[in-house]
């Protein structure tokens, strides 16, 4: 019995050594995601009590964090950081796409721009859901990942613009009609609500909680995934890498244990916090 256990331990301990890792995200992309999700959680936690100020928990939550003054301060603080991150991202696209003329930014398999294949993948995915066809083979970015990206992109423009319009209302009123300030709150609130509901339910499940990745897809934290997982999740990209002979370029080191553990703590806390906010939102909406 004890010997059997020992061999089991040895065999599982040996396995990671043979595992080969493929790099998926750069350090800057991972940092961007970290900034994005921390500020988003901060914005959601401070925005929700305002959006649902009549709910039973809003006042208590506001009091715990130091009243409304603290809430609005923190909200604006997170907004500023996220704005900076957004501008850095736009600058990066500009640099790579316009200055360096990287075609892969705007078109092709590595681009975030939707293409005909995404439509076919979406339909094929639905057929697979219903057991009517094979599972579509995905490239570097699958259609739901592109949707996530554009939802956040559009969301940041819309929420950001309406937010700044309210923050600096007298200034914006110089060139916006008065009713635009009314619209700003409606748009800011509804789009924020959509973002919260979408991220904390759809994105969480699609990316982290579905059986293939459960409980969390660590690739956005560590930047690498095992070759096996890479092949399974993005077969077309894998084939392309092999064909172009670029697979070796993409090899990455196995992430260090402490970093994986740390990422897991952060990631789980973020997911738990997000789910808590989701529950609060749903209570307030049903109230």
């Amino acid at each position: 019995m004890a010997e059997a256990e020992k061999t089991l331990v040895e065999s599982t301990a040996k396995q990671p050594e043979v595992k080969r890792f493929i790099r998926r995200f750069t350090r800057q992309q991972r940092q961007m995601h970290a900034v994005l999700f921390t500020t988003f959680l901060g914005l959601a936690a401070t925005g929700l009590p305002l959006r649902f100020s009549e709910s039973i928990w809003a006042r208590g939550l506001a009091r715990t964090v130091g009243g409304f003054g603290a809430i609005i301060f923190f909200h604006k603080f997170c907004a500023l950081i996220l704005t900076v991150a957004f501008l850095i991202h736009v600058k990066e696209i500009f640099k790579r796409g316009i200055q360096k003329r990287e075609k892969g930014i705007f078109w092709g398999p590595t681009s975030m721009v939707a293409n005909w294949k995404d439509v076919k993948d979406l339909l094929g995915h639905f057929r697979w859901f219903l057991g009517m066809g094979p599972r579509p083979k995905f490239e570097r970015y699958a259609y739901w990942e592109k949707f996530d990206y554009w939802a956040v992109f559009w969301g940041m423009v819309v929420i950001g613009f309406s937010g700044y319009a309210m923050w600096f209302a007298p200034f914006f009123a110089r060139f916006l009609p008065g009713w635009a300030l009314n619209a700003a709150l409606v748009v800011h609130g509804e789009e924020g609500l959509l973002a919260i509901l979408f991220i904390f339910s759809i994105h969480f499940v699609n990316t982290h909680l579905r059986p293939e990745s459960f409980p969390m897809d660590m690739v956005i934290f560590t930047g690498v995934e095992s070759e096996e997982e890479f092949k399974e999740k993005r077969p077309l990209e894998y084939e392309r890498m092999v064909k172009e002979g670029k697979l070796d370029e993409r090899r990455g080191d196995e992430p260090e244990d402490w970093f994986v553990r740390f990422s897991r703590y952060v990631g789980f806390s973020a997911i738990a916090f997000g789910l808590l906010l989701l529950v609060l939102t749903l209570t307030a909406m049903l109230q």
Partner: protein, 412 residues
Amino acid sequence: MGLKKLPEPVKQLNWAGREIRRPLPVLGAVFLFALTITVARAQTDCLMCHSDKTMQDSKGHSIAVDGKTFDASVHGALGCSACHADIKEYPHPEHVTKVECKSCHADQAAALQGSVHAESKDHPCTSCHGDAHSIFPKTDVRSTVYPLNIPNTCGKCHGTNGMAAKHGLKSTFPSYMDSIHGFALSQEGLLVAANCQSCHGSHHILSSKNPASPTYRTNIPKTCGTCHAKIEMKYDAGAHGHGLAKGDKKAPVCTDCHTAHAIVQPTESNFRANTTPLCGGCHEEKLSTYHDTFHSQLGLLGGYVQTARCWDCHGAHDVLPASDPKSMIAPANLVTTCSKCHAGANARFVKYQPHADAYNFKQNPALYLIRMFMNVLLISVLTFFLIHTILWIVRSRREHMKRNGANGGNHG
């Protein structure tokens, strides 16, 4: 025992001497001199027995009199026999006639007659004025009806567990003492601060349901206006004052917003935080659209009370419709009104609708359509992806189990 308390000549001389020193016109002085001598004599005689502090009648009520206090009291000059006229000799009968204050204070007694206290089983005069032998003028700090003492005097009955509770009346004393009036009176000793009788009167106190009462609904602005004259003028000039003058029973009066007894500074966060629903009691639709705005969202969170409340934009006492050029929300005055908080507000800024209804197409079509677009976007995106995600999970789970099963895993 009793013999020990017999005449004290020194005391007698003292009384006589003090009375003589009173600065009175000569004739009066002569008269009073004669009177005081007799009074003093009579009192001395009565006090031979009644100065015993333990003295009680057959029913156990104290019948002791503190000669010094009585002498200093407003009735001190009258002596015993002025009120206890039936006692002419010593020893007197055990039962003496009840003293009627109204034989001298006829006006007060008449006023008391129609009042809420007329039916009182307790002695109506001493309940408020205190012990009959130590009554002082109301300007004297020792008086129970001295302005600073009135709340305590009334509070004996109108406080927690007081007499009034037995009649189903509210305990008003604690809320008054915590109010701005009570604070001014008890902490600052401000004699002009409203005490009970400033609003309710003294002898002729009427129920607030009685149209003749100063606390009857329609009389309240006038009653408060006795001190707050300028506020009353503003109120009379405003829409609510107009309404009241026209006999609109729903028109709010001072106490509707400020309460009667628990009045606080309107700048206090408690007042600012809790008073919007009062306006909303009548202006329901306005309160509901106000709740949709940033002003209300901030305000409801507490801890932050500076955000615009109804009266910050509409005015408090002189609230007027926007059609009135004097109104704070008249188009010409909006920039000034909004600028109170929003530095740099311009003509375009004040086109913001603080009561916009995003569900009313006619009122604001652009806002309605934007709201509609956002709602449709939210519902369609979430519905689509909810279906997508659920189908995905179900399928993945099945795939997962199939594979693990084939591998001989225990999930099969």
